[in-house]
């Protein structure tokens, strides 16, 4: 390539790209091997790698770059991207020659403008391609979720037996931290479907799991709410089951389904970016294209022009998607609402989404099933027995419980087998060292879990202290409310992990960098749940209460302590439950962030202890035991805290506070 001849010096390569090149060359080959392969003296290699090398590079450098280009096209592409930066820097040389040649300044301006433009424009197409890949995943997952919701939601609503199986299962599924299960999913799918299609499917499936449950609940609720007369009429005129689905169930489900799709889109976007970034940690799993990939790689190269463009373009596409697809869908769906229900076409559906998330939070924590599991956990270990027991009574119940317990035990044994290692024989079970190993892994997991717990709750407390007053203040002030809610809605639509590279770059020289990055990501990913919940609730504080406090001249902290805070208390709790749930999900991207290439991976940030970090490492190293223990321990902790603390807090606050007296 002729152009590479002008690579006269390494200084045009940005620092991060230089680091990449260094790693690329040294880690893959080893310095000595590299010198051997290229038949160049070691000293000159160092010369090249040293940014402020004493002499301009020569033949040797060019050969090294050439070699890199041929051997590692992906990285080479990145270097080519940097060449635009080079062009700009070479402009000064050009300028001198232009000046000396006596050519006009005008030509110089045109050329320089073109070059600057080129710097910006060159990334747009690749970024749009990346976004297209991501959007394909999102839409595929959304489509799957809609189909799944209809199938499962309608079945649960019209069939009593199906209802008793489906509802508890959905309940459990929506309360586990899904992102933690991503590694297992990758493994499982790679066994069935090796290579890129498997990973693609894993990502789509992950997004699906973040979207589907609340949508299925929405369909179930909507179909359940169909007036009885409709169905009687349908039976009367002899409608077949299929045409009932087509003409009654599906139309009736549209409004709730569309509104929930809005929530699902937000949540799914978070999982999309997270999963794409997670796959980057190991070259074997990495997806080739996607906005998460683009963002992480540009950032790793230190190419902040491209990174910023990627974030801006993502935001743009996001806004367009909402404007031309999600919002019109939600508004269109309103026409399927029963006439007596007030239509709220004037309310921006996007605004309603966080309230919906809060609704889900309640279902998440207080499912009958979970309660019964805890109550029965030391007696017959049987969640399945629970619904069987509801169905049958007396001797039948006993039999059902017996069968269910047996079934569950079998399931546990099967799970244990996976835990111990796929396709491993039972031999290690009898050896002491195996159990010792398991115990020491669990010890590691518990320590990590403790650190993550403190991290999540610390950020949670900070968010409370910041978010609650801010939300109440803006809700009560007519001047503040409009601008604040607009700005925060836009800000909240950016999936937090997208900002990860920027945060890393900003915090790179701070002490406790890993902790700060983790804290910021957790905060960005979860803060909005508290903020919007409280904002919504504070808007409904009766005006007379505020007036009463003015009339009685109650001011300052008393007004907050006696009126504002208690008014929004139930929303603080639902917001908190969703916050904590969201925060556990962010850990996998917050606590550990690495970018891999075929030459190995670079850890850009990490905390010392943390369950997210452990899960990431387990994923990248293929440590199944660590993976399963981490997931199980984390899920257990979350469920226990939900059932004890949050259940109490929810019951207490909804009874004492708010306006539902």
């Amino acid at each position: 390539m002729e152009g590479w001849g002008s690579f006269s010096t390494v200084q045009f390569v940005s620092p991060a790209a230089r680091k990449m090149l260094l790693l690329l060359l040294s880690s893959r080959l080893g310095k000595s091997q590299l010198s051997r392969e290229l038949s160049i003296p070691r000293s000159s290699l160092y010369l090249y790698l040293e940014p402020n090398g004493p002499s301009p590079p020569d033949d040797v450098t060019l050969r090294a770059l050439d070699f890199a280009l041929k051997s590692y096209p992906l990285e080479a592409k990145n270097i080519i991207r940097d060449s635009a930066t080079y062009l700009v820097s070479s402009l000064s040389t050009y300028r001198h020659s232009v000046a000396s040649a006596g050519l006009g300044k005008r030509l110089y301006r045109v050329v320089s403008l073109l070059l600057v433009l080129l710097t910006f424009v060159q990334y747009i197409v690749p970024i749009l391609v990346d976004i297209a890949f991501s959007w394909w995943r999102m839409l595929a997952a959304l489509f799957l979720s809609v189909v799944f919701s209809w199938a499962v939601g309608i079945a649960a609503a019209v069939n009593k037996t199906a209802e008793k199986v489906i509802l508890p299962v959905l309940d459990v599924l929506q309360s586990v931290p899904i992102l933690g299960f991503f590694p297992v999913m990758i493994y499982a799918l790679l066994v069935v479907l090796p290579g890129k299609p498997g990973i693609e499917l894993a990502v789509i499936f992950l997004i699906f799991t973040s979207m589907a449950w609340n949508m299925a609940f929405a369909v179930y609720e909507a179909v359940k709410a169909i007036p009885k007369e409709f169905l009687e009429m349908a039976n009367d005129i002899g409608m077949s089951s299929l045409s009932k689905v087509r003409h009654i169930y599906i139309p009736a489900s549209w409004p709730k389904l569309a509104y929930n799709a809005l929530v699902s889109w937000d949540v799914g976007l978070f999982f999309l970016v997270s999963s794409e970034i997670i796959t980057l940690g190991n070259a074997n799993y990495a997806v080739a294209h996607g906005i998460g990939v683009a963002i992480a790689t540009y950032a790793a190269q230190g190419n902040y022009v491209a990174y910023t463009e990627a974030v801006v373009l993502l935001l743009l596409v996001l806004v367009i998607t909402r404007a031309v697809f999600l919002r019109p869908w939600a508004l269109w769906s309103e026409k399927f609402k029963p006439a007596e229900e007030p239509r709220r076409s004037r309310v921006d559906p996007v605004y309603k989404t966080y309230a919906l998330i809060a609704d889900k939070a309640r279902a998440k924590v207080f499912s009958d099933l979970e309660l019964s599991v805890v109550r029965k956990v030391f007696r017959p270990l049987s969640p399945i027995g629970f619904w069987l027991r509801r169905r049958f009574s007396g001797k039948e119940a006993f039999l059902a419980r017996f069968i269910a317990t047996l079934f569950l035990l079998l399931l546990l044994v099967a799970l244990a087998r996976v835990l111990i290692g796929l396709a491993v024989d039972w031999a290690p079970l009898s050896s002491l060292s195996f159990w010792m190993g398991l115990a020491s892994t669990e010890r590691e997991v518990v320590i990590a879990l403790a650190f993550s717990f403190v991290r999540v709750w610390g950020i949670y407390l900070v968010s409370l202290v910041v978010g609650v007053p801010l939300a109440i203040k803006s809700a009560l002030s007519e001047k503040l409310y409009e601008p604040v809610s607009t700005i925060t809605q836009i800000a909240s639509s950016i999936p937090g992990p997208v900002l990860l590279p920027a945060i890393v770059a900003v915090l790179v020289s701070f002490p406790f960098k890993g902790e700060l990055v983790a804290a910021t990501i957790i905060f960005l990913g979860s803060f909005w749940y508290i903020f919007f919940n409280v904002l919504g609730a504070a808007r409904t504080i009766p005006k007379t209460l505020v007036e009463a406090s003015e009339l009685y001249q109650i001011s300052g902290w008393r007004r907050w302590a006696d009126i504002y805070i208690p008014s929004v208390m139930p929303s603080i709790v639902t917001g908190s439950i969703t916050f904590i749930g969201g925060a556990w999900n962010t850990l996998m991207v917050a606590e550990y962030f690495s970018v891999s290439s075929s030459s190995g991976s670079v850890v850009l940030t990490q905390v010392r202890y943390g369950i997210g970090r452990l899960l990431d490492i387990a994923t990248y190293t293929g440590n199944l035991q660590l993976m399963s223990l981490s997931i199980l321990s984390m899920s257990l902790l979350i469920v226990v805290v939900n059932l004890t603390f949050w259940r109490w807090a929810y019951n207490y606050t909804t009874k004492r506070f708010g306006y539902n007296v």
Partner: protein
Amino acid sequence: MYEANSGVATREAAEENILVVKGVSLTIPLEKKTLEVLKGISFAVREGEFVSIIGPSGAGKSTLLRVIAGLVQPSSGTVFYRGQPVTRPSRGISMMFQNYALLPWKTALENVELALYSNDQLTPSQKKEKALRALESVGLAGFENAYPGELSGGMKQRVAIARALVLEPEILLMDEPFSALDPLTAEHLREEVYSYIINPSSPVKSVIMVSHNVEEVVELSDKVIVLSPRPARVIGELSITLSRPRDKKSFEFYTYVDQIFALLT
């Protein structure tokens, strides 16, 4: 002659204006135009008078009450309380809100105490004592630890009365005090409420009530101010000189009711 028999007038013979509303207008700037809510409203309330403000819904009755309370500043015009312009809430004027504005997370007693929070001259135990007495005076002794959610509509109303009275106001403003109750209960309670507020031991000298129920207004008031639809102007002022307790079936009673209906329509 009738006036001499009315409960308030017998107690307070002095015919002094305790409150004067003078040319009060209120316009609210909206995005494109301005909304005229009140337009040049003037009337006076004498000591010992029970005045009602009646008008079509949405006319701005409640807003007018808030201007009198000092919660809302008029665009022009002034409200004088004992000769002093009202610019912010003062202790002499208390208000009972529509739906009562009771805090569901506070007991009846705490809700009454709320009104005394800003009073620095009283110790906490004095505040509690006062609040208890206020609850007793409305017949709620024994219910001080009940939460609003556990009380009936009529009892909630009485808690609200106690809270308004505990400040020992000279003027009590009532914003549709009976609209949160079912019509039957409201019918029964009017006399009772009147007796809680207007009696020899009550500090209240005058009452201003906002309502859209004509019979209620005739039953309780000494004077009725009739407002026009928005922007609200005073389109009629009417003295009611029936003896109390008033006979709702009497011919005179219905003459007044008809008179007000005629003004409203």
